[in-house]
Amino acid sequence: MTDTTDTQTAVPAAAKGPKSKQDIGIGRRRFAEWRLKMYGLFAIAVAVGALAVLLYSIVSQGAKGLSTIDAEIEFVYDPALVDREGDLVKRFGEGADLLASFAKLSKEEQAAVVDRPRKTSYRPYVQAAFLKRLGIDPDDESPENLKKQDEALALLSPRMDVLVWQKIQQDPTLFGKPVKLQFLLSGEVKAYLDGIITKKTPEARRALKDGSLALIDKLVADGTIKYRVRWELLTNKQSTDPEDHGLLTGLIGSAYMMLIVLVVAVPIGVAASIYLEEYAPKNQLTDIIEVNINNLAAVPSIVFGLLGLAVFINFMELERSTPIVGGLVLSLMTLPTVIIATRAALKAVPPSIREAALGVGASKTQAVFHHVLPLALPGILTGTIIGLAQALGETAPLLVIGMNAVVSNVPTTPFDESTSLPSQIYEMASQDKVALWAPVTSASIIVLLSFLMIMNLTAVFLRRRFERKW
C-alpha cells in the first residue's frame, strides 16, 4: 500500500501498548470512508436539489401563468359601428329604426351585416368603452386628458377588438345591445401585478409608464381588475400575445399523435416481442435484431424527425405539420421502448405456464396467446404507458416535420395541420419578450408535466396492483 511508510514512521511515537496493537491508520482510513460516503450523499443532494430547483422555478412562474386578470366593462354594439357600410340604412331608408328592422332579417342576412365591418373598425369603440369605465372622457382632446387616455389605453390588450368582433360573429342578435364583456388587459399589466416588471425598472425599458402603473394600482384597489383562473389556456387557440394564448391546437394534435402511437407502435411492438421471445431461434439473425433494437432506443430523436421528413413527407407525400406524420415518427421512436418492456414482461412469465399449456394439448401459438400473453399484460401495459409518456414530451423530431407552425383552424382529423403540446412550448419559449411569456410558458409546462405525471403514476399503480411475483 502507498501509505505504509507513513504508518511505520508514526508507530514508535504512538505505540504505548503491546506491539500487536500496531497503528494501521484506522482513524485516517475511517475518515476516508466517511469522506466517500459524504461525496456520495453530496452528489445525490446536488442531483435532487437540481430537480427541486427545476420544479420550483417552473411551478413558481407557472402559478402566475395559471391566473389571469380582466375587467368587466359594458360595451354597446352601436348601430353606427355594426352597420358601418350602411347596408341597413340603404335597405330600410334614412331614419328607419335599425334595431327593429335588423331583428326582422333572416339569420343569414344578420350574419352578413355583422360580418361587414373589419375587426380593426372596432378599435375606437372598444377604446371608448374602456376609457368611459375608467372615468376618462374619450372625446376631450386637451393635452392632459390625452396623456391620461394614452396611459389608460396602454393597459388594454391589443387583442380586445378581435375578441369583441368575434363575440358578435357568434351571436348577431347582440346588435345594438349593451353587453357586459370581460375586457382582457395587456400582458404587461399582468407582468406588473406578478412583479416581473416593477416601478424600479427604468421607465424607458418598460412599455407601461409610471402613470399607467399608478392607474393599475388604483384599479386593483377599487376592484375593477379581478383575478380568476385562466381556463383559456386550455380552450384558446394560439395567439400573438401572451394574454390570450391557448394550447387547444397543441392538445388536440398531441392527443391524435398519442392515439396513432397507441394504434401503430403498440401492436407492432408487442408482436415483435412475442416473436423474439417465444418463437425466434437463437441465431445470428435474431442477435442482430436484438442489437438493432437496443441501438434504435439510443438514436438521437432528431434523426427520427429527418427520417419522417424524408419518408413520410417527401416520399409518401403526406402533408407537413399533420398529426399523422408526427404520430408515425413518434411510433417508430416508441417501438424500441415497447419491445424492450414487453420482452421483459414475457420473460418474467415462468416456463411452467407454457409447459402446462403444451402438456394439455395446446399448440405453441395457443399457449402463447391464451396463457403467456394475458399474464404478461400488466407489464406490457406499464411499458406502453411509459413509452407514450416519452413520446408525449418529445419535441425535436416534431420541429423538423413542422409541427411548430401557427395553425389558424382547430384540427378535426389527424390529416389536418396541427401543433403539439411540446412544440407549442418551444414556440412560446423562443418568443422575443421572454420575461412576458415566461408565466404562460411555465403554465403550459405544468399542463404537460401533469399529463406525464398522471401517465407515470398510472404505470406505477398498474405495476404495484397487478405485478405477480412467481
Binding site: 452528489a43 442489437v291 420541429l399
Partner: protein, 496 residues
C-alpha cells in the same frame, strides 16, 4: 373522372377490409354448418375457420396494395423524366431529381384541380398560380418550359394506373374470399394454417425494427448524396465557417458557393457542450451510484433511485426552458457582477450544465447496476482481508466495474451529442470556434432544427445539408452505442 377520384390507396384498403370482415362472418357460419351440430367433429374451432377466410381475403390484397404504392414511383417517374430537356438531365450543379420534386408537387396538386384548371397548367400556369401556391407548390421554382408538361405526364400516368390497381387489388381480395370460403370443411386444418400466418406476421413485425434502421440510413444517404453533388465533400468536412445564407445556384445554375458549409464549428460546439455536460454528470452520477450500491440502506435506495430517474423523465424542452429563463440569466449575472466577465444568458456553459443535470441518471443508473453486479465474493474477499468498505470500492469494485462504467459514460455522451432542445434554447445559434465557455455556440442538432423548422423548400442545398448533418450525427452516436452496448454485454457475460 369521379370514379377515379374514389380510387385511392386508403379507400381500396377500406373496401378490402370490409370484404374480409364479411368473409370472417361467412367463414364462421359455414364452419358451424359443416359441423352439423357436433362441434367436436371439426378439426379446428369455427373461429379459426373465420380467421382463415379473413386472412385469405385481406392479406394478399393488402400486401399487393402496399407494394404497389411503394413501387409505383419507379414506373411513373421515368415517364416524367422523358419530358425533361437534355440540359436539365445533364446538369451537374442542380441534379434533375431536385426538379422532379417540384414536378411531383405540381402533379399532386393537379389531383384536386378541375379539368379546366388542368388545361390551363400547360397553356400557361400563371392563371392558376395562386391555386398552385395554395396547394403547396413552390411556384417560384417552376420552369415554364418543361415542368407543367412533365407534371401533366406524371398525372396522366398515375390516373391511367388507377383502374389497373383497383382491378388487381379487388380481384385478389375476391379470389381469396371465394377460395377460402370454398375450402371450409370439417377436416380442413384451419388452425394450423392460421397459426402459420400469425407467425409470419410476427416475423414481419419484428423486422420493422430493422427496417427502421435501414430506413434511416437510406433516407439520409439519398439526400446526403444529393447534397454532396452540390457542395464538395472536403469543403463540408474541413470548412471552418458555417454560414449557408446564399440562395443555391445563380441564375444559370452554375458556380455554387460552398464555402458557407463548413462542418468544423458545428462539431466543435457539439463536442464542447457535451464535454461540459459530462464534467457535470460523471462525478455526480458516479458518486451517487457508489453510494447507492454500497452504502445506502435499502429504504434510502428505494426512494433516491426513482427520484434520480425522474431527471431522465422530464422532457428536454422543459430543461431547455429552465436553462433559458433560470440558469442562463443566473450564470450571466454571476459572471458579470461577481467576476466582472462579459457573459450572456445563452452560452456553452449554460447548455452544458443543464444538459449535465439531464444525463445524471444515465450515468448513475447504469453504473449502479454494474457495481451491484460485481460478484459478492469479490467484496467478501476484500473485506475479509481487512479492507474498509471505501477501500473495497476503490481497489476492488471500481476496477472490476470499470468497463461497465465506461460504457455508461459513453451512452451518456451519445445522449448529450444527440440532445436537441436544451441546446436549441440555451446555446444560441452562432457558429463559431472559441475556447470561451461564456460565448454562444451552436451544435449539429441546433443547425438541423434551424435549417428545417421554417417552411422551407426541401430541395435547396441548405435543407439537404441537414441530412448530411443528420447522418453524421447518426453514425457518431451509433458507433458509440454499439461499442458501449457490446462492453456491457461482455461485462455481464463475464460475471454471470
Amino acid at each position: 373522372m369521379q370514379a377515379l377520384d374514389f380510387v385511392t390507396a386508403p379507400n381500396l384498403a377500406l373496401v378490402v377490409l370490409a370484404l374480409a370482415v364479411i368473409g370472417y362472418i361467412i367463414g364462421r357460419v359455414r364452419a358451424v354448418a359443416a359441423s352439423k351440430g357436433d362441434p367436436s367433429s371439426l378439426h379446428s374451432r369455427p373461429g379459426y375457420h373465420a380467421a382463415f377466410v379473413f386472412i385469405w381475403t385481406g392479406l394478399p390484397a393488402l400486401v399487393v396494395l402496399a407494394a404497389w404504392v411503394v413501387l409505383q414511383p419507379f414506373y411513373v417517374e421515368p415517364k416524367g423524366y422523358e419530358v425533361f430537356p437534355k440540359s436539365v438531365m445533364e446538369s451537374t450543379t442542380q441534379p434533375a431529381d431536385l426538379k422532379m420534386d417540384v414536378v411531383k408537387s405540381i402533379a399532386k396538386a393537379l389531383e384536386d384541380f378541375s379539368p379546366e384548371q388542368r388545361e390551363k397548367l400547360v397553356l400557361g400556369f400563371r392563371d392558376i398560380e395562386s391555386a398552385l401556391d395554395r396547394a403547396g407548390v413552390a411556384v417560384a421554382e417552376i420552369d415554364q418550359s418543361y415542368m407543367p408538361r412533365a407534371a401533366q405526364v406524371i398525372f396522366e400516368t398515375r390516373q391511367s394506373l388507377k383502374p389497373i390497381m383497383a382491378a388487381v387489388v379487388l380481384g385478389l381480395a375476391v379470389i381469396g374470399f371465394i377460395f377460402s370460403i370454398a375450402v371450409v370443411s370439417r377436416r380442413m386444418r384451419a388452425r394450423n394454417r392460421v397459426e402459420t400466418a400469425v407467425r409470419g406476421m410476427l416475423i414481419i413485425a419484428s423486422s420493422i425494427a430493422i427496417l427502421t434502421t435501414f430506413g434511416i440510413v437510406f433516407a439520409l444517404i439519398f439526400d446526403t448524396i444529393r447534397f454532396f453533388s452540390v457542395v464538395p465533400f472536403q469543403d463540408f468536412l474541413f470548412g471552418l465557417t458555417w454560414d449557408p445564407t446564399f440562395q443555391g445556384a445563380d441564375e444559370e445554375g452554375h458556380s455554387v458557393d460552398s464555402r458557407g458549409f463548413g462542418f468544423v464549428p458545428l462539431i466543435f460546439g457539439t463536442v464542447y457542450i457535451s464535454f461540459i455536460a459530462l464534467l457535470v454528470a460523471v462525478p455526480i452520477g458516479l458518486f451517487s451510484a457508489i453510494y447507492m450500491a454500497e452504502f445506502a440502506t435499502p429504504r434510502f435506495r428505494s426512494i433516491a433511485k426513482p427520484v434520480l430517474e425522474v431527471l431522465a423523465g422530464v422532457p428536454t424542452i422543459v430543461y431547455g426552458f429552465f436553462a433559458l429563463v433560470t440558469v442562463g440569466p443566473a450564470l450571466a449575472e454571476f459572471f458579470t457582477n461577481t467576476l466582472g466577465l462579459e457573459a450572456q444568458g445563452r452560452s456553452v456553459l449554460t447548455a452544458g450544465i443543464v444538459m449535465g443535470i439531464m444525463i445524471i441518471p444515465f450515468v448513475s443508473s447504469l453504473s449502479d447496476d454494474i457495481i451491484t453486479a460485481v460478484p459478492q465474493s469479490l467484496r467478501d474477499a476484500s473485506l475479509g482481508l481487512g479492507a474498509t468498505k471505501a477501500e473495497t470500492v476503490r481497489i476492488v469494485l471500481l476496477p472490476a466495474a470499470l468497463p461497465g462504467i465506461m460504457a455508461a459514460v459513453l451512452l451518456a455522451a451519445s445522449r448529450a451529442i444527440g440532445e436537441t432542445m436544451i441546446v436549441v434554447l440555451a446555446a444560441g445559434a452562432t457558429a463559431q470556434i472559441t475556447a470561451n465557455p461564456l460565448e454562444a455556440m451552436t451544435t449539429i442538432t441546433v443547425t438541423i432544427v434551424n435549417l428545417l423548422k421554417a417552411d422551407t423548400d426541401f430541395t435547396s442545398p441548405q435543407a439537404l445539408s441537414a441530412y448530411a448533418l443528420g447522418i453524421t450525427l447518426f453514425v457518431v452516436t451509433l458507433v458509440m452505442n454499439v461499442y458501449a452496448l457490446r462492453i456491457v454485454r461482455k461485462y455481464r457475460e463475464q460475471y454471470e
